[in-house]
Amino acid sequence: MRKFALPVFVLGYVVAVWWVFTKSTPIVDERDVTIRIAHWQIELGPPDGIDAVIKRYEELNPRVRVKQVMVPGPVYRQWMRANFSGDTAPDIVEYGAWLDGLADLPVRYFDPLTEDLLEPNPYNQGTVLEGVPWLKTFADELSEQRLNSPEPGQYYCVTLSRGSQRLFCNRNLLREITGREEPPADFEEMRELFRQAHAYGEKRGRAVYPFAGSRDNVYWLMSFYMRGVTMKVGQRIDENGYMTVYPRDLMWSFLNGRWSYQEPDVKAGLALLAELSEQMKPGYMQFVRDEAVRQFLNGDALFLFAGTWEATSLRRLADFPVDALRSPQPAKDDPVVGSAIIGHVSDGDNVTGFGFYLNKRTPHRKEAVDFLRFLTSYEGIKLFTDHSGWPPSVRDVPMSEEAASALSPDDGFAYGGPNIAVGGATRTVFERHLHALTGPGGSVDKFAQLMDAEMREPVREALAIEQRAARWAMLPQDTRVVAMGQLERSHPDDAATELRRERLEAAQNLSEARALQIARQLRDLAARQNE
């Protein structure tokens, strides 16, 4: 027995050394700290990406366990509200400023990451991002936070991905219809393809529609094409000179008579929408998104127009190759909308999303921030993109060709002009009256008249909601400003508190003036109606 003792000891030592230098995880899975990260991106792809990051992170950090909590989108808001109120919320949560009814959550429950973001991300050592402040490693430097931060001047989240709108194409079906795999190069070729698809359907005895149709996909498709047609009107109503039109300005300009659905450019856009409508299975407004996906996967539709969040699911579920194409756009010589076109409209931007926020009450802030650093480091985000198929939010990180197909170059105008919906509940007006454009006896004139008549009240209500939102953002700040004044009094040399008070006052002043300005517009409108 003794002659085996030394070799066994040496072997054990070698195995231990190998384990320590390659795994860094204890053999017995006992970890001091568990952090939880919650999100609603439960389609195929993102959960795998986050799992891959967690696995590697746990190898590098044997003290910490990370648990991924996946919550279905339809219940996410209620889930967040209940868990933050009950103090049972995870350490890290996905949140978006557009989530209705949660505007009070961020400042109450999330902890800013501003100071952390100004430091380099230590997990980027040895990469091209070494030494770069964490904030500057994001492709858009977290621009969404500049627009929607819960507290202007502060950064509250880090993001994982970015995307665009794409025309997903069944490559096999395209080859069967056209005899080639090259997608249409321009909108005229698209029109030709529409004809070919219908003819192919008749020949095979089962209809083929150019677009998979559902209420959701139609809204995305028509909004996109309408945006390209109304940019000239958008430029005209941009009286503020922002080189874009914010929704509140679009609403006010409509109510103020600066544009209507009778505009020649807008009517041309509506004619284009009627043409697109004919390329979908009749009755599409009765369907939801799942039905459009089913039509596409069954080979009943050649294209599916959607956001790139669908890309991984479609590619994994389809038994044919799926290409993510940039949608061909009408040119200045287009017979229907050419006179309205000023150039290409942007079909995606570099704004990053899928934002993760830090729970202010987490008992493990240090570990949670450390995980966020790894998650958005060169190595972490590469693991995410490789396993999810979603493009990375971090710059200079290589990605697959498929993920890269979700990114658009900076080659299109991004004016927000008149569209089929202009904020608030106006989408329902479009949905309710679309039959007047596309149904039997429908026409552009009929639809335009209905839109002008029926839109006014929902637009006025949407503008009133903007006013209330600005007012509600401003009201609680009075007591916060005074509290900061008291903190300053007890720490007169604390520049950080003084800066924070100044920023809060500046943010409040912006919200307050906006609320007053919109209130004045609404009074002006009411006075004119009463005349």
Binding site: N240, Y242, T244, V351, A414, L475, R480, A483, L487
Partner: protein
């Protein structure tokens, strides 16, 4: 064994847990804790902390109680009926707390109550400025009053609204507050249809102070460039567009501005002023 023994044993065990449990450590709870919570929009935590603070002077405590009572708007008329006397009482003094209380009282009438009373708010701001002219709270009051003059004074003609706000602007000495009012004067003048040459000086002055928050700095630099272009001040427009490219390289409006810059350079070249 007497039947009471198990109960007695359980009671003793329970008692031992009570005695072994660590006493709540309140030594770190100060008014800074209270104000930190209040500044972070956590009024319930602030209220709990206030109850735990051992030493605090009566005026500071009363201000904290009033602030925390106001922290979850909207409040009922009954709530205001309790809060306003607290603020009015504090405002009788002659210190920072008095100035803050008077400021909050003005805010209550200006924006916090469902139906604003601008005349009452203005009277309170005037009192604030008269008693503590150098106070930050008086300065902040000028800004707030300026907004009312600009946007809520329907009886006055647009030029009179702007003029009234400019009177208040002249009394502002804190740069950040001057910036906030001047920016709104510029934007109001634009909405009221003033000439771009009347609007631009206000916007340029606000931008020069810096320190604006969120998307506003980006909006403002584009806006000055674009309005300068429309007013025919091509060199000024070029300066601001170049600043935009340098300071906001990740903006979603890069393509829009680049196209405008092409037009601008063509216009400058046509004037023989391309440099």
């Amino acid at each position: 064994m007497p039947r009471s023994y198990p109960a007695l044993g359980a009671a003793l065990i329970g008692l031992s847990f009570v005695t072994l449990a660590p006493a709540k450590d309140l030594s770190f709870v100060t008014m800074d804790t209270v104000w930190s919570y209040a500044a972070s929009n956590q009024p319930l935590e602030a209220k709990a902390a206030l109850d735990d603070v051992e030493t605090v002077d009566e005026r500071t405590k009363t201000l904290a109680e009033a602030v925390l009572a106001m922290a979850r708007p909207p409040l009922s008329e009954g709530d205001w009926a309790k809060i306003e006397p607290m603020l009015a009482q504090l405002a009788q003094g002659d210190d920072e707390i008095a100035a803050q209380a008077l400021y909050l009282q003005a805010r209550m009438h200006q924006v916090q109550k469902t139906t604003p009373d601008y005349a009452r708010a203005e009277a309170l701001y005037d009192e604030l400025a008269r008693r503590w002219p150098e106070s930050h709270w008086a300065q902040l009051g000028f800004v707030k009053l300026g907004f009312v003059k600009l946007f809520a004074n329907d009886a006055a003609a647009p030029r009179a609204r702007i003029a009234a706000a400019e009177v208040l602007l002249a009394m502002l000495t804190e740069p950040a507050l001057r910036r906030d009012l001047q920016l709104q004067i510029g934007w109001a003048a634009l909405e009221y249809g003033f000439s771009l040459d009347d609007v631009l000086p206000h916007l340029i002055a606000a931008d020069a102070v810096g320190g604006l928050m969120g998307i506003t700095p980006e909006d403002l630099v584009i806006q000055i460039g674009e309005l300068s272009f429309r007013a025919g001040h091509l060199a000024q427009a070029k300066h601001y567009f170049e600043r935009f490219f340098a300071e906001f390289p990740t903006s979603t409006r890069i393509y829009n501005v680049r196209q405008r810059m092409n037009e601008l350079e063509a216009a400058l070249a046509a004037k023989g002023d391309g440099a």
